[in-house]
């Protein structure tokens, strides 16, 4: 974890409300592990003070990139920023995905919308190529399928309106694949909480290990404020653990879903 002023190299609209931001961060980039995030301060934001957490998408040389959706005050201002401008980043943060060892499990990645970006490095660094299951509402919400295909991964798409891939939720093609075989497989997921919960239930049903990247409202990003906690099993009961520090990636079996959205 380091804090640096990072320079914007590119900040382009990919599709619809989605943008790809490339940052020059020579000291941060080499440290990034799959599933980690950057906590970004947008200095232009004056009345909204807090940093915004973003999953790290790709790492190339001395840069890392972020795929973000324009959803609120922060990302609105971010979308207007141009190459050459700077941001403050604290990164890399959090405990990410465990990359399977060579000859180990075959990863099945499950992504909801731009949650797919958080799994790119895992796909790139996994010695075994696997399958990415990605779901979204519409075709436009499926963002980086080609990036995964270029890595030699199979991509199975599901959209709720049927505009791309199979019609329905991402968990349907995932279930079909798990019914075929579960041997030597491991699930990794990133997306909205209801999707994570559904993946967690499938993992339990099929007895497949699963790592889920949890999304909880975050404030400091480094473990001091205790805003981003989720319920995690502990002894006979549960305790709150920090998504920013003990997570964002948790073993699905450890998560207590009661009390999650």
């Amino acid at each position: 974890m380091i804090e640096r002023t990072v320079q914007i190299l590119a900040n382009e609209r990919v599709a619809d409300q989605y943008f790809r931001l490339v940052l020059r961060a020579p000291e941060i980039a080499p440290l990034v592990q799959p599933g980690q995030f950057a906590h970004v301060r947008i200095l232009r934001l004056k009345e909204a003070l807090l940093r915004r957490p973003f999953s790290i998408f790709q790492v190339e040389g001395d840069t890392f990139s972020i795929l973000y959706k324009q959803v609120g005050k922060g990302t609105e201002v971010l979308a207007q920023m141009a190459p050459g401008e700077t941001l403050s980043a604290i990164a890399p943060l959090g405990k990410g995905f465990a990359v399977p060892p060579p000859g180990g499990e075959t990863p099945l990645l499950v992504a909801g919308g731009y949650g797919m970006a958080a799994m790119y490095l895992l796909a790139k660094r996994s010695p075994q190529k696997g399958i990415v299951f990605v779901g979204g509402r519409r075709q436009v919400d499926i963002l980086c399928a080609d990036d995964f295909r270029e890595l030699g991964w199979e991509v199975r798409i599901a959209t709720e309106d049927g505009s791309l891939g199979s019609k329905g939720l991402v968990t349907q093609p995932l279930r079909a694949e798990l019914e075929r075989t579960t041997a030597g497989r491991r699930l990794y997921a990133c997306g909205p909480t209801p999707m994570l919960r559904a993946v967690g239930l499938l993992a339990e049903e099929f007895r497949v290990p699963a790592e889920l990247s949890m999304d909880e409202h975050m404030c400091c990003g480094v473990g001091v404020c205790l805003a981003c906690v989720i319920r995690v099993k502990s002894g006979d009961g549960w305790e709150y653990q920090r998504t920013c520090t003990e997570g964002p990636v948790f073993d699905a079996r450890q998560i207590v879903w009661e009390g999650q959205p």
Partner: protein, 304 residues
């Protein structure tokens, strides 16, 4: 140039500390900051037993600030001593331990436990947390209860006691005097301001706890006035806090009557803030040809 200040018998190498609850137990920031450059590290509130805290969402951003209702999640006295104290003890700067309880007896017991721990810098009595059902704010908004808490802790320890006053009182001077008379060595002014936020679309509160504490730059003018009023009421030193994000903010608190300052919410978005405040304070003193930071304390001039 002298930057050192004293809170009772607590010596600080400079007047800049951090506000309880915004800095964890120090160790979380050790990778980003040289903690030994602070005046003191102030840790999150500890009661006797571990505390789970409130359900989420626990924080929400608002214009120029934020609300929190964490609920004082914490490891309890034993958990703190086991897990965090060895690291804090290894620092060259003092640790101020923020403590709380749900009864006068519990406050005193926590104070007694820390009295037996070697190397504690001071205890800050949290009598003003708005986010817990029992304890917290009630001790800070009833002047008789406040007096009881402070005097019970006074009898339980020889450590410097800093009483953290609530902003939510009609007349802070009487609370400041009660704390001082009961044996408090210093005051922290102030805590978060009770507040709430609502989502108009869903018509639901934005915090699971419904209400929370407002902090950040938006509360600075409120906090400044409270420091000014408290400083006129007592002779004990005051740690000023509430929305400090620059050296200018910190200097205003000193001028209003604070001896030291604490950076709070700004730590969440800029962990370097305390050091920026310190650098800016030194620059200001040079520019105003001051040789001792204590010249600033209570130096408010009359009239606009």
């Amino acid at each position: 140039m002298n930057l050192s200040v004293q809170l009772g018998s607590l010596q600080m190498q400079n007047p800049v500390t951090v506000a309880s609850g915004t800095f964890g137990y120090g160790v979380e920031y050790a990778q980003l900051l040289d903690l030994n450059r602070l005046g003191a590290v102030t840790v999150k509130g500890i009661r006797l037993n571990p505390v789970r805290g409130n359900p989420t969402p626990r924080t929400v951003e608002v214009t120029s600030g934020m609300l929190n209702a964490i609920g004082l999640q914490g490891p309890g006295v034993d958990g703190f001593i086991e897990k965090y104290w060895p690291f804090l003890r290894s620092l060259n700067v003092p640790t101020i331990i923020n403590i709380w309880g749900t009864s006068v007896e519990e406050y005193a017991e926590v104070a007694r436990r820390f009295d037996a721990v070697e190397g504690v810098g001071a205890l800050e009595l949290n009598v003003s947390c708005p986010n817990i059902k029992e304890g917290g704010a009630q001790f800070g908004t009833d002047v008789n209860l406040l007096r009881q808490v402070v005097s019970a802790c006074r009898q339980a320890t020889r450590l410097p006691l800093i009483t953290k006053l609530s902003p939510n009182v009609p007349n802070i001077a009487s609370f400041a005097r009660a704390a001082a008379e009961a044996g408090s060595d210093a005051l922290s002014v102030t805590n978060s301001v009770p507040a709430m936020a609502i989502d108009s679309e869903t018509r639901r509160p934005r915090l699971a706890n419904v209400t929370g504490g407002l902090t950040g730059p938006c509360i600075k003018p409120i906090a400044l006035k409270l420091v000014w009023e408290a400083a006129r009421a007592v002779r004990i030193p005051i740690v000023g806090m509430g929305g400090i994000q620059t050296a200018t903010d910190a200097i205003e608190f000193l001028v209003a009557g604070a001896t030291a300052v604490a950076v709070g919410t700004a730590n969440f978005y800029e962990p370097q803030t305390a050091f920026q405040v310190l650098a800016g304070l030194q620059e200001y003193m040079e520019r105003h040809r001051m040789t001792d930071v204590r010249e600033l304390t209570g130096s408010l001039r009359a009239g606009p």
